[in-house]
Every structure is written in C-alpha cells, then in structure tokens.
C-alpha cells in the first residue's frame, strides 16, 4: 500500500504530457516537414511466396522527381534482433505479401508513390505455407532453405535445418511422464488463433540523413533507439558513436515499435541520394502488413491432477506463427515457454515452444509478449478441468496458485519479494465481479449473464544486461531537469519517473522538467522501452541519480550552513538542518554552486547521475530451460461479466475487472489507465481482431474498415480496477512493472464466460457471433 508519509508516490498526479497533447501541438514524428525533405516509398511484394525472377526499374526511372531506386541485390544481407534471417529488401525470393522489394526516393511523396507503380517485378510462385500447423508438417514447403546458417544475434535461439522451425525452446522440470501416468484426472485441449495487428494510431515513420562528417542522424517513432544504433552498427558497419537517434513522443506502440525495420531502409535511401534527409512513412496498409504484426498461436495443453485438485503434471506444446521471419517471435517463443504454466505451482513440467516460419507477415512483440496467448490456453484448460473435478474454478486456482518458495518452469526460485500475491488478487476480483451472486444467471427470455475469470503472470524477460540511466540537472531557480532514454508512448512513463524524482527530492511535480524527446547523444543508454521494465529499470536509475544529487546538495549546503552533511535533509526546495528545519538554504541558492558575498564560489552545479543494470539474470539451458529469466513476476486476476443473446450469439460486455499485484503503484490513475486500456485491447483482440488470409497467403483486410476492432460503445459498460501492492524491495519505492498486464488475462476470461453462456468449449479466437455459431454447427470438437 502507498506509504502515507510519501509526498507524491501513490498519488494521482496529473500526467505531465496531457495538456500539450490536448491542444494538438505535440510534434510526433510525422508532423515534421521542411523544404528539401525527400520522400521514400516502397515497392512491395504482391505474392506471399515466390522467386524473384527480375526487377525492372526502367519505367520508374522515367517518372518525374525520382532521384534513386534501390533494389534487394544492392544490400544482399540478413538482419534481425535475435536471428539475422531477414533481408531489409527481399532478394532472390519474397516470403510474405507486402514484403519490401525496392525503395524509390523522390522529391515528393506522391512522386515516389507513382514511381513504385512503374516498377515491374516478375515472380515465380512457390508453394504457400499458410499456417503454423502446416509449417510443422514433415515435407512442408520451406520458407527458409538455410535457416540453420543464419547468424545468431543473441543466445536462446535454435533454428533447425531443413524445417520451418526458427527456434525451439524446451522446458524439462521434474518428470512429466511419470506424473502424467499417476494423475487421477487429466485433460488435453487445443487452441488456435490467427495473426493480428497492433494498430497504433500513429503509423511507423522515420527520417534519416547522413551528414558530410559521416554522422548518421535518425529521427524515428521507436521504442528502441539504442537498438537502432546497434542494428546500423552490426549490419551497416557504422561506428556506434556516429549514429544519433532522436525519438519524439510516440503515438502508441504496443510492442510494435520495438523492433527495427524502417530505419535501415531509410538509411539505404539517404545513402542513395548522397546523404540527404529522407522520410519514409508507412501508410496504414503498409503498417498492417509490411511492418511486423502480432503472432498467431496454436497450443495443446495437457494437465494432470489429483482428485483433490492439486496439479501434478503439465505439458504445453506451443506453435507460434512468426510469419516469414523470426524477429521478436523468437523471443516470444522463449517467453511463452518460461512462463508456460501460468501462475501455478506444478512440479512436473514439459514444454516445447516452436517458432514457426510461415508465409505470413512477420510477427514481433505485442503488449504481453506471448502471455495473452499462453494464458488463454492455460486458463481455458483450468476452467474445463475444474468442471471435470466439480471444483469451483476460483477455488481450483487458489489451490494451485504459485507462492513464495515455489519454483517457476525454469526453476527460478520465488520469494515474497519477486512475486505478487495471487490469492489476494483472486479474492479481490471475486468481490468486484460479485462471483458469489452466481456464475451463470438467466437474465431474460433469451438472455443469459455469465462470469469468466482468468489469472495471469508475467516476468520481464529483458536482456541479462538490460539497463537504464538518468541524469538530473538543477536549474538556477532550484527546479530540476530529468533526462533519460525512456520513451513516452502513451503509458505515462515520463510522469512516473518525474514522480519518483519528486518523491526523492521532496519537491513539487511542477519543479520537475522531464525531457520528453529522447536523444541518444544526451541520454544515458537504456535497453529499450518494452517488457514493462521502465518503471523498474529507469525508476531505479532515477533513484540513484537523486541520491547522487542529494549528496552534492548536502555537501554544498554543509559548507554554507557550517555543519556536517549528515545533519542535513533535503525537501520543499531547501536543504535544512534536521533538528531545526528553519535553519537552511534554498536549493536555488546552491543549484549552480554557492557564491559568497566576496564573490568566491564553491562546488558548482548540482548534476546527479544514476544507473541500474539487471542483477543475476541468465540465459536458459538449451535442454531443460533452467535459468533466471527475469527480475520479478507481477501477477493478477481478470474477470468479465457478459450478457449473451442465446438466439444469435450476439453479446455485450457488462463488466471488466482487473486486480493486479504490481508492487507499489506510483500513480494510481496512470496505472488505472493502463489496466482499462489493456483490458480494452485484450477484449478487442478476443472479440474481433484477426488477419484474414486467402489460400495464397494474401492478407484480405489490411485496412481499418475491414479489420474490426471494438469501437466506442462496445467496450465494457464498466471497468473495475484495483491493485494489491505487495512491495518489491528492490523496486523504486517497491514498484514492479505493470504496462502490459491489463491485456494478458482479458481474452481468456472472455472465452471462459462465453463458454459457460453457450455451453460449448470456445477455444478459438476471435469470438464473434458468427464464429460461435460456426462452433455450434460443427458440434463437438
């Protein structure tokens, strides 16, 4: 719980970016234009799998304003964040519909776009791999002929030669086979859902120039500015120090802006026109298909249990449709394995998680990083097994809920510090959803109201050396600038970091100036703004920077006040003597050093620096998965109540509940925003969203008219959000991460409620009235 003595932590301080955003004056990446700015547009594949026979640019060169055309063979190399398997521009063959084939640079955007239509690409079609299941079959067509020969960029990725397996992650804990054989009740169930999209309202956009001194200057809407530097260094041989990346405020990301795709293309485009400033912006269709999307998922879950309801064995087979390239799907394959059980203590665990190449648009991280998908599979199975055992589904989850002293699937040991309190979350959610009123109530002649629940957990699977830094610089008026490379993408991170600093300094929020833009030359290195890691990593860096500044403030003040620094306290814009607070000095009088009446001056400006790096994380053992993948696990429970019309399976969502134990909540309103928005996103996904592919692997609905999402009025009638705050001792003021968590359990609890309402096991997403009707027509599984 929020400590009552805290000054600002735990209080709903207004977001520092809200007023500016409300006026339309915030400059996002695409809001910049300048005379001489050149524009790049992509020629994209019209086929999902085909040999490139020829690329004829003759006619395109004749179009007005065209200054450069770049084709795949000009840069015939592979790049990627985990496995380098993706050519920035396709050469030799294309592997998905929408894949970049050539870049045209022209004076105006419309000129570049027109010229793209004049490029003639001749293809020879190849057999299509149109699902993860198909990809997994022996003798399936190969999306990559030489997958095993690609360079591994990080460990924990295992492509398999002559298959479509881009990676295979194994968990082997205990002895599953024996435990399964001895189980008194068992269940096996399968699940499936298609690829879908992030649909951040801001489409991806970048601009790049190469100045004559060789500096590569990138402006982008990215979650990973330092990864852009890394990629340009690794694959284009540019010195890291010569790459400058600027990130303004980002118009939504949801994981989709975590990987690096546009920047290398824009770099090639700028290079082709002598380093001039070139802008490359995706339109909506490109943002949905050419840019990376969300994984598809097939799962088989087997659970073995005693007749008292104690889980003893769990086996999980996950096929992740990563599309044409592994990108972050290779990491999701790993993340889905290491948390495969959901928040349950199961002594014998076996998991095979496969990253499958298909001829779909390639997939990357999406808020939750595989957890909404695995949680759906696990939580649907838990409900079905509870029914078999005739145990209340909540009670069944409490019996098996993971606790301090238990181990995770990778055998990481849990303590009161690194995991939240699941049972408290369940009990609070039970109250909020009014579970005891009944899970299934007939509410009208053809209407039924039902409740579904889901638990969830997730660790923050960062790089083992993930880190963040912060620099705080005091102004002459005693106010403070906070610079760090955390990206503001709507989640409110800059407000949270400002609050942490304000708390440490005992200062009002309006005295804290958080730099919104990120500049990799001024800001300390930060791993990335992903994985719900920023409050923890950057938050700790801010705490250290504040301590560093406080030590300096006390040192200067001790000279001025003629006392020991140990006697001093900082707060309220002053440094004062603890036993006699009236005796002190204003920070403004020492912020730039202290000047005596004689003119003599001491100490100089107060500049605090702080940093934090993950502690004791390890890769996973290839054979067993053994390892420590993340610093902590936030846990939670979600529930919905829906009302279904039993005649046509239309339904409305009445209530959405989230109870999260994310440690101390720094700002209850921004945290609530994250939980509501997360629920919306998870429910929109579960009710509506998927890419439709034809038999040729072509995406048929890459626009917002045909790609359905929940719109205003279709959201739950009410969202109920609450937090259990079991502090993480090593988090800033006890905070863990929360950003992704609102999404994770939403699809599962919706499907659980609809399964009860319809009397059918609904194991595929999305759950539209039509898909439910089809399920009824098909009968039993």
């Amino acid at each position: 719980m929020a400590n009552t003595s805290w000054y600002t932590v735990g209080k709903p301080e207004q977001r520092i970016d809200a007023v500016e955003k409300s006026t339309g004056k915030v400059r996002y990446i695409g809001d910049y234009s300048a005379p001489g700015l050149m524009h790049a547009k992509l020629v994209k594949s019209t086929q999902a799998h085909a040999k490139i026979i020829s690329v004829d640019t003759t006619e395109a060169w004749k179009m007005p304003g065209v200054r450069a055309i770049i084709t795949g063979e000009m840069f015939p190399y592979h790049i990627g964040p985990i496995l380098a398997d993706r050519p920035p521009l396709a050469f030799e063959k294309v592997r998905y519909y929408g894949e970049p084939v050539a870049i045209i640079v022209a004076d105006h955007e419309y000129q570049a776009k027109r010229a793209t239509e004049k490029v003639k690409v001749e293809y020879e079609p190849l057999p299509i791999v149109n699902s993860a299941q198909q990809a997994f079959q022996k003798n399936a067509p190969l999306v990559h002929e030489n997958a095993a020969q690609y360079t591994k960029i990080i460990s924990d990725v295992y492509p398999k030669a002559s298959t479509n397996i881009g990676s295979h992650i194994k968990i082997r804990k205990g002895d599953f086979d024996v435990a399964w054989a001895n189980s008194e009740e068992t269940i096996t169930a399968t699940y499936s859902f298609n690829l879908s999209d992030h649909v951040a309202m801001e489409t991806r956009s970048t601009r790049v120039e190469i100045n004559p001194a060789g500096k590569v200057i990138v402006h982008s809407c990215s979650q990973s500015p330092f990864t852009i530097k890394k990629v340009l260094n690794q694959f284009f041989n540019i010195d890291v120090g010569n790459i400058l990346v600027h990130i303004p405020m980002v118009g939504g990301a949801f994981g989709g802006k975590g990987t690096v795709q546009l920047e290398p293309l824009a770099y090639l485009a700028s290079k082709a026109v002598g380093g001039k400033l070139v802008k490359l912006e995706f339109d909506r269709e490109e943002d949905m298909t050419t840019a990376p999307c969300r994984i598809g998922f097939d799962a088989t879950v087997q659970l073995g249990v005693t007749k008292e309801g104690k889980l003893v064995a769990g086996k999980y087979t996950y096929l992740i449709d990563s599309g044409a390239y592994t990108d972050q799907a290779a990491g999701i394959t790993r993340a889905a394995a290491l948390d495969c059980t959901g928040p349950y203590n199961i002594p014998n665990v076996w998991c095979d998680s496969y990253c499958m190449y298909t001829n779909h648009p390639f997939a990357t991280s999406f808020r939750g990083y595989g957890h909404p998908e695995l949680t759906f599979a696990v939580e649907r199975t838990m409900d079905q097994l509870a029914e078999k055992l005739q145990i209340d589904p909540l009670q069944f989850r409490i019996i098996n809920g993971i606790k301090p002293g238990d181990t995770t699937p990778t055998q990481a040991v849990l303590t009161a510090n690194n995991i939240g309190d699941l049972e408290k979350c369940i009990n609070r959610a039970k109250e909020l959803i009014k579970w005891d009123e009944g899970q299934c109530i007939k509410s009208g002649k053809n209407k039924v109201r039902t409740k579904g629940i889901s638990t969830f957990w997730k660790t923050s699977t960062t790089a083992t050396n993930a880190q963040a830094g912060a620099i705080i610089i005091f102004e002459a008026d005693g106010s403070v600038n906070l610079n760090c490379a955390a990206i503001e993408l709507g989640q409110g991170t800059k407000t949270i970091l400002g609050q942490i600093l304000a708390e440490k300094l005992g200062m009002d929020m309006n005295k804290i100036h958080v730099t919104m833009e990120v500049n990799t030359q001024y800001d300390p290195h930060q791993w990335r703004t992903v994985a719900s890691s920023t409050t923890f990593l950057a938050g700790r860096a801010v705490v250290f920077a504040a301590d560093h500044a406080i030590a300096q403030l006390k040192k200067t003040a001790a000279v001025v006040l003629q006392c020991s620094p140990d006697d001093l306290e900082v707060g309220g814009g002053r440094v004062y003597i603890k036993p006699d607070p009236t005796f002190g000095v204003d920070i403004k009088d020492i912020a730039l050093g202290y000047t005596y009446p004689s003119g003599h001056s001491i100490e100089g400006q107060i500049v605090g620096i702080g940093k934090h790096i993950q502690r004791h994380l390890t890769p996973m053992d290839q054979q067993t998965g053994f390892g420590k993948p993340g610093p902590w696990w936030s846990v939670g429970v979600q529930a919905v109540e829906i009302e279904l019309d039993t005649r046509d399976f239309t339904y409305s969502i009445l209530t959405g509940v989230t109870v999260l134990d994310g440690g101390t909540i720094i700002n209850p309103m921004t945290a609530t925003q994250q939980m509501r928005g997360g629920m919306y996103m998870g429910l929109s996904y579960a009710t509506s969203e998927k890419f439709v592919f034809d038999e040729h692997g072509i995406v048929k609905n890459s626009n917002l008219r045909e790609y359905p999402m929940l719109r205003y009025g279709e959201q739950p009638t009410e969202y109920l959000v609450d937090f259990i705050e079991s502090p993480a001792i090593d988090g800033p003021f006890g905070a863990r991460g929360i950003g992704e968590y609102g999404v994770i359990g939403a699809p599962a609890c919706l499907a659980n409620s609809l399964s009860i309402a319809t009397g059918m096991e609904l194991n595929k997403l999305p759950l539209t009235p039509e898909s439910i009707w089809q399920r009824k027509v098909e009968g039993t599984i």
């Binding site: 809200a18 993408l489 309103m669 928005g677 009025g713």
Partner: protein, 170 residues
C-alpha cells in the same frame, strides 16, 4: 482536372480558424495534407487516410469531416476549424481532467468530434453519442474516460459549449 491527373496546381483561399489563408495546392492535395504541410496545422493526424479512424477530423461548416477524404479545392468557400482553433473548448479541458489522453495521437480528432457532437446534440442520448464517436478510434484508453468526458458535458453541464461556426473572415 482529370486530364491533368490531379497534378495541375492552383492558389486558393482557405478559411481556417477564423483566418483566410492563401495556399498553393495541387488539385489532388487533400485538405489533411494541405493543413499539415502548407499551413503547419499538424493537430489533425494522418492515420488511415481512408475515413476509418477519425484522427484527421476537422470541422467544415461546423460539421465534423474526415480531412483525409476531402480535397483542399473542395472546401475553399467553407469555414474550417481544426483542433488549433478549439483551444478554449471545454471539451479539451475535460479530456485532460478525465484522464482521456494516453498517447495523444487520436486526441485532436476526438476532441473536434466531441465538440461538434455537443454543439449539435447538447442533450444527446447514448445512442447518438455512440453513432458519432464510433467514427473515431482510440487504441489506448478503452473509451471509458472518453465516455466520462461526454457525460460530464451533456445536458445541463453543456452551457459552456459554444457553436463553433466562425463564418468567413479575412
């Protein structure tokens, strides 16, 4: 215009936020690109360019309009209001007060549409509100906060909304 495939150019006058502005446009330029690239009014956002998301919403003659779907040359004699002309709208303040802003990219379009809704239907019921606001997409908030914005300004709370119809001026 067809013969020139939309590439011929013209100088036109646009009446934006109470001011008359001279701009040189191609006949194929949309109102959205003209506002953003010629007049520096970047509050209206480019997002779907297909009339599906509402991020580019502006008022044309007091009515909400997808500026990605009209050509600049189509609106020369009509008053246009963008988010930059609604800084005094109580809707803007309510979006801040009700926590209806996260990434902020959809916000200008929503504020413009909500402002027009409350101007046209000061006592709108939920059905009307839904019909109007389903033309805009917010991917961050889950709509609860936007609903609170509208409800805080409907009916008796609505006296402060002024009709935004600046007419033609110089």
């Amino acid at each position: 215009m067809n013969r020139h495939n939309g590439t011929s150019k013209a100088f036109i006058h646009l009446h934006v936020n109470g001011e008359t502005k001279e701009v040189g446009v191609r006949n194929a330029d949309t109102l959205l690109s003209t506002l953003r690239e010629k007049l520096g009014l970047t509050g209206a956002k480019r997002s779907c360019e297909n009339g599906d998301c509402g991020a580019c919403t502006v008022l044309v003659n007091g009515e909400p309009s997808h500026s990605c779907l009209s050509l600049a040359v189509e609106v020369v004699n009509l008053p246009i209001t963008t988010i930059e002309g609604l800084l005094d709208s109580p809707v803007r303040e309510a979006f801040v007060d009700k926590w209806a802003i996260q990434c902020g990219f959809c916000t200008p379009g929503f504020i413009v549409n909500c402002h027009a809704l409350l101007t046209n239907h000061p006592d709108a019921n939920e059905e009307i509100v839904e019909e109007w606001l389903q033309s805009n997409i917010c991917r961050c908030t889950g709509y609860q906060e936007i609903k609170e914005v509208i409800h805080s300004l409907l009916g008796s709370n609505n006296h402060s909304i002024k009709k935004t119809h600046p007419g033609l001026s110089k």
